[in-house]
């Protein structure tokens, strides 16, 4: 696994909602095959960062580049086609489409299409291809979200609170899947509260508090960092 090639570069990103800075001058860099944990208390700006990079929110300032290509403020479908995809904390499959169709529709604009059964196999949903969405368990819906993200042949996937509600066995299963994605060169930004799961899947973490990046480094160092401890344990968070 190489971690030398820079994929995603976020520089001085600021997102403002009605005068409130939900993201304040955030900068980070992600490399090919890297898994970065994005952590912070509720309201710290994690989802705002994901939504801004994915084009759902327009940034007030800053730059986002993917492999040197400026994608700042581009439309969500252009960003997805460029190679940034995501999952949702609460999976949002297309409810009137079958499992197969959910993945197929996500692969239409992929530059390098993989067969749908192959994608479903990677997330252990091969046997559910013709299922309607209602028939899937919560864990299967989360894996379908991953399959849909994979279908666009992504370079970067934002994985938003995948672990919530999963059993230990399911957690191990998705951790292995994420490791496989990384081996194929996909970089991950994992938004997560479950530290045990983060420890399994990421190399380093980026900590947000009140919209600002306050720490970047290994999870072990983060846990001993005074400011991180104050934010998580000291009740000083004000966003």
């Amino acid at each position: 696994m190489t971690e030398s090639k820079s994929l995603l570069k976020i520089e001085n990103l600021t997102t403002i909602f009605s005068g409130f800075k939900a993201l304040n001058d955030v900068s980070l860099e992600l490399f090919q095959g890297q898994a970065l944990g994005l952590v912070g208390p509720n309201g710290s700006g994690k989802t705002t960062l994901v939504n801004t990079v994915c084009g759902l929110y327009k940034p007030a300032h800053g730059h986002i580049t993917l492999e040197g290509l400026n994608i700042t403020g581009k439309r969500p479908h252009d960003i997805a086609r460029a190679g940034i995809n995501r999952t949702f904390q609460i999976p949002k499959p297309f409810r009137d489409l079958s499992v197969y169709e959910n993945v197929a529709v996500s692969s239409i604009h992929s530059k390098n299409r993989t067969s749908i059964p192959e994608i479903l196999r990677k997330v252990n949903l091969a046997d559910c291809a013709n299922y309607p969405i209602e028939k899937l368990t919560a864990s299967q819906q989360k894996r379908l979200d991953l399959a849909r993200a994979l279908a666009l042949d992504p370079k970067v996937i934002f994985v938003d609170e995948l672990a919530a509600g999963l059993t230990p066995t399911e957690l191990t299963e998705v951790a292995e899947m994420l490791a496989n994605f990384r081996q194929n060169g996909i970089a991950l930004i994992v938004v997560e509260h479950l530290m045990g799961f983060l420890e399994q899947v990421v190399d380093s973490v980026f900590v947000l508090s009140a919209g600002k990046g306050i720490f970047s480094g290994s999870l072990r160092d983060a846990l001993s960092d005074e400011e991180v401890k104050r934010v998580f344990l000291g009740g000083a968070h004000d966003a």
Binding site: H77, A80, F94, S106, I108
Partner: protein
């Protein structure tokens, strides 16, 4: 014999009513709004057929095809004009109702100016005229010819929606336009095209409405919109196949009422909406929504 006549006639007319309603359902799917000008688009389709026949002697069968690209383009451009405003509005449903009510009034006024307020009709000789005889009962040429034209049209539409790549994208956008955008789909463009297709289906229904309603006039739009609305509520809002089935069932009900209780038959659309709301609010083919 009267019952068989009503049922067979109802199916033939019901195919027309399916087309009449499906366009409204499509526009709802594309933008999650009720197009109050739906009946007026149907009326414009009728005037289009009337003009094409009277000026160029073009058969209504051919007119059905001619109106499609024109109305797709009109619907697409209208969608691109209004959709960004609806997205930014604090109350998009109310704004859309006001916008389409206004559009309905404008279309009515323009139709009155251009075509006059008198009803216009097409001669039955503009289409094949032989009556259809089934089980000893004759059915007007306009009923079976319209059904013969509309069935392939609806079949093409269903194939487009369920068997093509763009149809798959349309169904994804209908399900969740934000999620579709994250999946790489240009939701705005796909919505716009689908919106235009809704207008085209309405205009095609308008061509045959000239025969089924006995003519076309500038003020007919509101009543047609109500009928179409009743059918899509009955079939389940947003469900295309449900709307088509509901259109046919509506045709049968309407024809049965015409045969047995003719003076009450115009109440059928209203009775259908009220009965659906009371007995099965999600519509005949809809799934019950879980409120979390």
């Amino acid at each position: 014999m009267l019952f068989e006549y009503a049922v067979i006639g109802g199916i033939l007319l019901g195919i027309f009513y399916a087309l009449l309603a499906v366009g409204l359902n499509v526009v709802y799917g594309a933008q999650k709004i009720i197009n109050l000008a739906h009946g007026d688009i149907i009326m414009l389709g009728g005037y289009g057929a009337w003009e094409l026949y009277n000026t160029y002697h073009i058969s209504p069968i051919l007119s059905t095809i001619i109106v499609i690209p024109i109305t797709v383009l009109f619907g697409y451009l209208l969608n691109r004009l209004i959709a960004p405003r609806l997205v930014k509005a604090s109350d998009p449903e109310m704004l859309s109702l006001i916008l389409f009510f206004g559009l309905s009034e404008v279309i009515q006024a323009l139709a009155s100016l251009v075509f006059g307020s008198a009803e216009r009709s097409l001669p039955v000789s503009s289409i094949p005229t032989s009556r259809l005889v089934l089980f000893g009962q004759g059915y007007p040429a306009t009923w079976w010819v319209s059904a013969l034209v509309i069935i392939p049209l609806l079949a093409i539409f269903v194939i487009f929606l369920y068997r093509t790549s763009i149809g798959l994208q349309v169904r994804a956008v209908i399900s969740d336009s934000v999620e579709a955008a994250v999946a790489g789909i240009n939701s705005k463009r796909v919505s716009g095209i689908y919106f235009g297709i809704g207008f085209a289906l309405a205009a095609c229904a308008g061509v045959w409405g000239v025969f089924i309603f006995g003519g076309v006039s500038p003020t007919e739009g509101a009543a047609i919109t109500i009928t179409a609305f009743a059918i899509i509520v009955f079939g389940s809002l947003g469900n295309t196949l449900g709307t088509i089935a509901a259109g046919i069932i509506f045709g049968i009900f309407y024809q049965l009422a015409q045969v047995y209780i003719p003076s009450w038959s115009n109440l059928v659309p209203y009775a259908l909406v009220i009965a659906t709301m009371l007995i099965r609010p999600q519509g005949l083919f809809g799934r019950r929504q879980r409120i979390a």
